[in-house]
Symmetry: C2
Subunit: 596 residues, 2 copies
């Protein structure tokens, strides 16, 4: 099925929820107003609809393949990536100093969504490259920056993140790869890394691996991990490619989904040692890696929204076309298209509301990021940074968890045809299953939310979010009409459940950690749900005002209806989660381990 | 991973929740007491663990294949089916008159679960054959019974259900296949049927297709559909196989899961007409097909439980073995197996509680079926029939919907390894996706629940179930201890939500059908959840009594804990569903069709 980028909805979010005109007041963003956003998104839509989206099924049916250490990507990927690079898309959000376009995240995130809707597997290569760029920008020496940044930002080379080892997944303390200092200041790197996305491929001239390893004599645990740049091909002083480095792909995985994205096992140093260059200081690797991780976590959250949007479009198209059964209200005599049936509508509305709600959260978070990085006022930066950091685990965790509900509903709307691979709906269901796992599982996001984002400041930021929500409720209550009142009421109830849980988490994280962490994922789901419902509440306020101005009635009315549906159907889940977290803290750990 | 049948838990359900000794009082069930159940289940476990379960991965990696009209099943399937037939397993629940063992459904359902846990794809062939047997027993002429039943019950031949056509899925009114009466009393059948499970294969000598078609001049819609037996090979008067009938498999589907089960497109009558024999009377085909469907719907519900059990076992094994991170409570210094982590425990407990809860519902329903069919007292039969029929959409709908949650959690517990196909967890996630679709989607089950099972009698049976639940609550309240009190409280609250919804459904089905049917699937999920929680509440009562007698303390304590977890973590979802159904009835249909 062809994909049509939801440019109008993205621009609605960028304009009204992310307040792009305020973003355009930030230093360095002067040219990034609504007009720019619109022009970029339209071009992004055209490129991805025409070039990248048609490769989505191709990549699934003809996955990347490995032979004798060489990975051949799916047909068309190499050519499309060349166009992607030439179009300047890799540099969209990156420093103009190194050839990037320096656009704010508020616009960049929307483009990421479009790219990922078009093709999750394809989009992973730029996603990982973004992470490598961020790490080098933040912690790389001038020499490393000079050597690598321009080529990465232009898309001539690509980047990878090498964290996982067979025994070290979520637990990076267990990393065993090691690095030996050499007299010339470089290091020799040895070890096995697994699950390396685009760890080997044929789409770029060079691959810049960012690798976690321990320098000899470093402390145990996460405090002894350093970060290295290990290029596939060594780079001469003049920037030309030299010898092949001792970093080889020994196999790629056979996966449930995202089959076009090669997931590599990389062997470093089996032939004498892979030459690596230290990023920043020794033993601070995890800190730098978190820079990449935070960008990547946000981006994976966007992947969840993106695949949800694609699954929704696919399901709507089928529901409009498939004729089956007579509507229960008798509105059609005889069999009608299945979009007439209430349960099909319920499924489509659930898909739509979850997608629009998580999109609104993500784009709002992006504008907080931009303010946090560029606002002239330090206090404003600090507040926005705290808000953004609170939202990252929600964007990552909630958007990806709901993508599994959305894609499953997408298959269900198709009935028996959904189970047939050629229909295409099943691919989204398979592809999205990785999203709750990589770049930190939902449980890892939830630990972050409980520990660093909620307990550490005694729930201050969490409660500040609630206070903002309360303001939105008051604005909604001042409006006439059933939807606004229903949303205000549902938000108020959900916010109260949320606050009870925040108190519970703050009270228990230290005293009774098993109870707090037993509720960690439910807390993430509750908070993510509430924030998405809140953003749709804000959208309803805007849409009401726009309607009054006579702007785009169909779109604005649909936004109000979607917010209304979200509030009535999805926000009530927050109470079930509260009950489970607070009432059920004990029964999670009650069964002895040997009784399972 | 090897599969171990949960014989102890199945026997607990059979003995205490289904009250097997009462079942053994029913005419014809005199030998079917607990000892028989135990002997049969142990043999069933042995056979399926050793013979059928090892073929599960084989069937996924080497699917059944089609060439020139011939279907070759996955390696080992033919031999295993031969053993299945020789072991008498096909005849377990069928009439001794035709060679069956005549065991009650209470025992048969437990065996079905084991078979399906071992291998969903394999189990589908017997499942469909059961349906064909039921239809012939109920509606077939003596001649048809004499010709077909013994061979089907012995497993020498297998059966299929031919309902779906390209334009007629959930909506059987659209069936176009036609049948022309012949002078000898037979018919010639013409048409295309799709999605025919085991519509062609190499595991049996003959395949007995039960086919829906219209006799010339029959009324339009579902009242003009008749049911025919169309054997792959014609059968002589002496029971020997004769000519190949004009029913050919033109292709099989490429599916998301259950890949070993061949899903056939069958072409009837392209070479002059397929010879068919009318089952029962003309134009009553749908009624007879519902006999098969009802048996099959229950059985598909059991498939949901079965795949959940298998996914649970797989996840537990991994959680016990994979070492990663230090427990938050400091109970282990250094990295520990992940079963120490609260969120892994939450996931495993969710999987366990959903599996045990749905199992308890299914086996309780089976004993109602047995009483409905065999009890000497007509009023008792009627009550049990009504209770069973109310439970069928819950067993089918809820058990299969939750299997998707359970198998998804199963992948999640495995982290990155879950996404690698060789790990095996992903197969359950793929396989189970068909369960909410075939034999009537969840929406079709929910329509049945709303229309025939709830509204038609003004909610009488639905409320009678609530009254029974209230009795269980009272018994729980009389017990000491936190788990019993927590379960009683959660059940009471969930029952009240349920009753509100029942009133809403009864009030709206005719007056405002869009509102009632917009809530149909949520109502099914609410009722299925409540009944499962109730059955675990009953299990808690039994376990408490058994503990007091000093019986099997570990098992009984685990049962109490599982019921406790279910009540605290899963029953609260009922309130979110109630809110969505009652509060959100309007917003489901609010968005105009062209605004999607």
């Amino acid at each position: 099925m062809s994909y049509k980028a939801p440019v109008k909805d993205l621009l609605f979010n960028i304009e009204h929820l992310a307040n792009i005109e305020a973003v355009a007041q930030l230093p360095g963003c002067e040219d990034a107003g609504l007009d720019t956003a619109q022009a970029v998104l339209e071009e992004c839509a055209r490129f991805n609809e025409d070039v990248v989206a048609p490769l989505n099924v191709v990549g699934d049916t003809q996955p990347s393949s490995w032979k004798d250490g060489v990975v051949t990507t799916s047909p068309g990927f190499k050519e499309a990536f060349k166009q992607y690079a030439e179009g300047g898309w890799q540099g969209l959000q990156h420093e103009p100093e190194y050839g990037g376009q320096g656009l704010p995240k508020t616009i960049g995130a929307a483009c990421q969504e479009i790219l990922n809707s078009a093709n999750l597997s394809f989009a992973l290569c730029p996603l990982l490259t973004d992470g490598a760029i961020e790490a080098l920008v933040t912690a790389g020496s001038d020499a490393l920056k000079a050597t690598y940044l321009e080529k990465l930002i232009s898309g001539q080379w690509t980047g990878t993140m090498n964290l996982t080892e067979p025994q070290a997944g979520s637990d990076l303390a267990l990393v065993r790869s090691r690095a030996e200092p050499q007299p010339d200041g470089s290091y020799k790197v040895f070890g096995t890394k697994i699950f390396i996305t685009y760890g080997e491929h044929d789409m770029a001239e060079n691959i810049v691996h960012l690798v976690l390893a321990r320098v000899q004599g470093a402390p145990e645990g996460v405090k002894g991990i350093s970060l290295f740049v290990v290029p596939k091909f060594l780079v001469g002083a003049d920037g030309t490619l030299g010898d092949r480095n001792d970093a080889y792909c020994v196999s790629i995985e056979h996966k449930l989904g995202i089959k076009a994205s090669p997931t590599a096992v990389l062997q470093f140093g089996d032939h004498g040692g892979a030459i690596g260059y230290l990023v920043g200081e020794e033993n601070r690797g995890l800190e730098y890696m978190f820079i990449m991780m935070n960008a990547a976590r946000y981006a994976v959250g966007v992947q969840g929204i993106a695949v949800s949007e694609r699954a929704y479009q696919h399901a709507v198209a089928y529901a409009r076309e498939r004729v089956q059964s007579r509507p229960v209200d008798g509105s059609v005599k005889g069999s009608a298209t299945i979009i007439h049936h209430p349960d099909v509508r319920r499924m489509l509305m659930t898909m739509r509301a979850l997608t629009e709600g998580t999109r609104a959260t993500a784009i709002t978070a992006a504008s907080a990021y931009d303010a946090a990085h560029r606002h002239p006022d330090a206090e404003t930066r600090r507040e926005n940074q705290a808000f953004y950091e609170f939202l990252v685990p929600l964007v990552k965790g909630y958007s990806t968890e709901i993508s599994q509900e959305v894609t499953s509903l997408g298959v269900q709307v198709h009935g028996g045809m959904g189970f047939i691979e050629e229909t295409g709906a099943a691919q989204y269901y398979r592809d999205c299953k990785i999203l709750t796992i990589y770049e930190g599982t939902t449980a890892i996001q939830a630990n972050d939310l409980v520990g660093r984002k909620t307990s550490r400041d005694g729930g201050q930021v969490a409660k500040a979010v609630a206070a903002q929500i309360e303001k939105t409720e008051a604005e909604l209550k001042a409006l006439p009409g059933e939807p606004a009142q229903a949303v205000a009421k549902a938000l108020e109830a959900a916010r109260k459940s949320y606050l009870e849980v925040v108190e519970f988490i703050v009270a228990n994280t230290r005293e009774n950690p098993n109870a707090a962490f037993a509720g960690s994922v439910p807390y993430l789901m509750l908070a993510g749900n509430l924030v998405a419902g809140w953003q749709l509440g804000r959208a309803l306020l805007v849409a009401t005002a726009e309607l009054a101005k006579g702007n785009d009635a169909g779109f604005m009315q649909a936004k109000i209806t979607t917010a209304h549906f979200y509030a009535e159907h999805l926000l009530p889940r927050t109470h079930a989660l509260r009950d489970a977290i607070i009432g059920g803290a004990h029964s999670v750990m009650e069964l002895p381990m040997d009784a399972y």
